[in-house]
């Protein structure tokens, strides 16, 4: 039986100032999986990833990476992993090729293989045409791709990516996703941290939601989204006049429902959704459903048949906030990107 790529038991990391960044994490990531840590800033994602990559020693518990203990066999771990830090890290005074050569040498890629390996990686991250340009001339996305390539020189069976796409434009981000997907398809285990549900959804086989240094939920993206109950369908009802009319009618003691109440009634009668998933919003109704696209159409038809005026219609996937709300019952605190770990850590107690 091969060891799991990552096997963490009751890991704790407490900084000397008393900050408990990681508070008892158990984690098992099998070989070949694309695994994600999803959580807000300061949740302990980076601390945990640094602990697994031997940059920090756990103050409690144990971590085994590729079968090696991160404390007693740190060097073996380092040889068998690739690590891409949150901040883009390239030597800007060197060219792309020189950066890759230094990485090859650092990881002891045999001399005979180096040139081929460098060429292969330059092609992989689309930097072959600027291979001999200095990295300080590169855009943010190009540097990030070069950084990613340097983490792969030794064909590590496990790669850690700490918020790899933060700060990138959508095009650059999609390109990186594509690379990560390909590497994983070829058998590399990938451990990624992210603040974006979309990213985790797109890439990961399995996700752990991490909050205040603890894992609060683990599952496939589909399972996590089921926690939220699917996608969210917003229907805007009538004009201001229609709403005012309904409200006015109620104020006058008229039992006839307003436009929004009428819409909810229609939605219930249509039998498309759980009653609990239908809510009244400021300008219409909102429905949470696993199948918003098709049911949305049915709902619109039903509303039209019932004579309710629909002025707007919008389907959106659950956001990280939605997942957090569903799983933890608390709103996700929007900390600044630069916010220290403590800011968000102060948030929750269990």
């Amino acid at each position: 039986m091969s060891p799991a790529a990552i096997d963490a038991r009751d890991v704790e990391v407490t900084y000397s100032d008393g900050t408990e960044a990681v508070r008892g994490i158990d984690l098992e990531v099998p070989d070949g999986e694309f695994f994600g840590f999803l959580g807000p800033n300061g949740a302990g994602k980076t601390t945990m990833i640094k602990t697994m990559a031997t940059l920090l020693k756990p103050t409690g518990g144990s971590v085994t990476v590729n079968g090696f203990d991160v404390v007693s066999a740190a060097r073996k771990v380092r040889e068998s992993i690739g690590y891409m830090a949150q901040e883009t890290t390239v030597d800007e005074e060197l060219t792309a090729r020189e950066n890759l050569r230094f990485a090859c040498e650092s990881y002891g890629v045999p001399k005979a293989d180096r040139a081929d390996r460098i060429k292969e990686l330059l092609d992989l991250v689309d930097l072959a045409d600027v291979a001999d340009k200095r990295a300080d001339d590169f855009s943010g996305g190009m540097k990030k791709r070069l950084d990613a390539a340097t983490a792969l020189v030794h064909r590590p069976p496990l790669v850690f990516l700490d918020e790899p796409t933060t700060g990138l434009d959508p095009k650059a981000r999609n390109r990186l996703w594509d690379y990560f997907g390909r590497i994983n398809d070829q058998g590399t285990t990938i451990f990624l941290t992210t603040q974006y549900l979309e990213e985790a959804d797109q890439l990961c086989d399995r996700i752990s939601v991490i909050l205040d240094g603890e894992i609060v939920e683990t599952g496939s993206p589909a399972e996590l989204k089921r926690e939220v109950g699917g996608e969210i369908l917003d229907v805007e009802i009538g004009g201001d006049a229609a709403l005012a009319e309904g409200d006015a009618a109620r104020a006058e003691g008229d039992d006839g429902p307003g436009a929004r109440e009428r819409a909810v009634e229609v939605a219930r009668e249509a039998g498309l959704f759980d009653d609990a998933s239908i809510q009244i919003t400021d300008d219409g109704i909102s429905v949470t459903t696993p199948n918003a696209q098709t049911q949305g159409t049915d709902l619109l038809v039903a509303l039209r048949d019932a004579g309710v005026t629909v002025t707007g219609f919008n389907v959106h996937a659950p956001t990280l906030d939605d997942v957090f709300l569903a799983i933890t019952g608390e709103e996700l605190e929007h900390a600044d990107v630069e916010a220290p770990e403590q800011a968000a850590l102060a948030g929750g107690e269990d």
């Binding site: 990559a53 380092r78 081929d116």
Partner: protein
């Protein structure tokens, strides 16, 4: 495993690619498609076998990186030479005649001021170049390369040794340039080429304690400006309150006292001893070795002791900074 051919999505095809010189990789490439067990073990086992650099190998990698960076950034190389060169030219031209008197007269038995000054400038070069060592480290810490190196399997000691040796090489080259320039300006190097090499060696030995100091500052402040400011602030008092620019016996008593405890005095005296092939040290009265050795032995001994003490401090600080213990 990792992509051995980027455009190839089928692991099987990758595994059988004839260009793949690494048999272990071929097995590992099939790791996911094949049953986990054996293939996955091969994956981690292979990764380990692949990454076994020797200590010397690790040293060489880092030595090369820092030399490459120095060549890539000739600005640093030039700037750390400009100030000493300005000193050399201005001091000899402006103070040359005056200082000549203090040295025993231009027509007398004393050396010319050029000859007297060149060893001091060599030591100044060592100081200036040593400052950049800490700056390089701070840069690496700030841009993440420090962490990137730490997460690699390279041995820490080899990493820092490689970097330091690249800096020492640069210092030796810069001192060589100063010596050539000095001779062109009329300085007389009594001991010839072996003497020149000796002065370079003195400069290297001298620079080590300041390299240690600037790296300690770098780790402590983790800030480029602070490292530069503190190191530069130290440079001038150290240079002027020593035997660098004038013989100590013409300077006020308090400077003579300070100079006795100033490492620059020992570096300058050792270099000057070689330059003049004579016992020039006045702060310590050693007579046991005879001739220039009465200057060299105590001078080098003091520098060595200082290097060891400050070096130990720097090693301690660097070890702490690169340890994975949670702080």
């Amino acid at each position: 495993m990792a992509p051995s051919s980027a455009d190839d999505d089928t692991p099987a095809a990758t595994a059988t690619a004839p260009t793949d010189a690494d048999p272990g990789t071929a097995i590992a490439d099939g790791g996911r498609a094949a049953s986990e067990g054996a293939a996955a073990t091969a994956a981690s086992g292979e990764a380990v076998a692949r990454s076994s650099n020797s200590f010397l190998g690790d040293f060489w990698i880092n030595f090369k990186r820092w030399n490459l960076k120095a060549v890539r950034n000739p600005f640093v190389l030039v700037v750390s030479l400009v100030q000493p060169i300005i000193f050399l030219v201005l001091f000899t031209q402006v103070f040359g005649n005056l200082a000549g008197g203090a040295l025993g007269g231009p027509a007398g038995a004393g050396p010319s001021y050029e000859t007297f000054l060149v060893p001091a400038i060599a030591v100044q070069v060592s100081l200036a170049a040593a400052v950049t060592s800490g700056i390089g480290l701070v840069n690496d810490i700030e841009n993440g390369m420090f962490e990137k190196v730490l997460v690699s399997p390279m041995r820490r000691t080899a990493v820092f040794l490689g970097k330091t040796c690249a800096e020492l090489l640069r210092i030796a080259v810069q001192i060589g340039i100063i010596l050539v320039l000095g001779v062109l300006l009329g300085a007389n190097l009594a001991t010839g080429v072996p003497g020149a090499l000796g002065i370079m060696a003195v400069g290297v030995l001298f620079s080590l304690w300041f390299i240690a100091l600037s790296n300690t500052l770098a780790v402590l402040t983790r800030d480029q400006e602070s490292t530069i400011i503190v190191a530069n602030l130290l440079q001038f008092p150290l240079l002027f309150l020593s035997s660098a620019f004038l013989p100590l016996d013409v300077l006020p008593e308090w400077i003579q006292t300070f100079a006795t405890f100033n490492p620059v005095t020992y570096g300058v005296d050792a270099a000057r001893g070689i330059m003049l092939n004579a016992d020039v040290m006045t702060v310590l009265d050693v007579t046991t070795f005879g001739g220039v050795w009465d200057t060299l032995v105590p001078g080098l001994a003091v520098l060595l002791a200082l290097d060891l003490v400050l070096g130990a401090v720097a090693v301690f600080m660097l070890r702490r900074a690169s340890s994975s213990a949670v702080q």
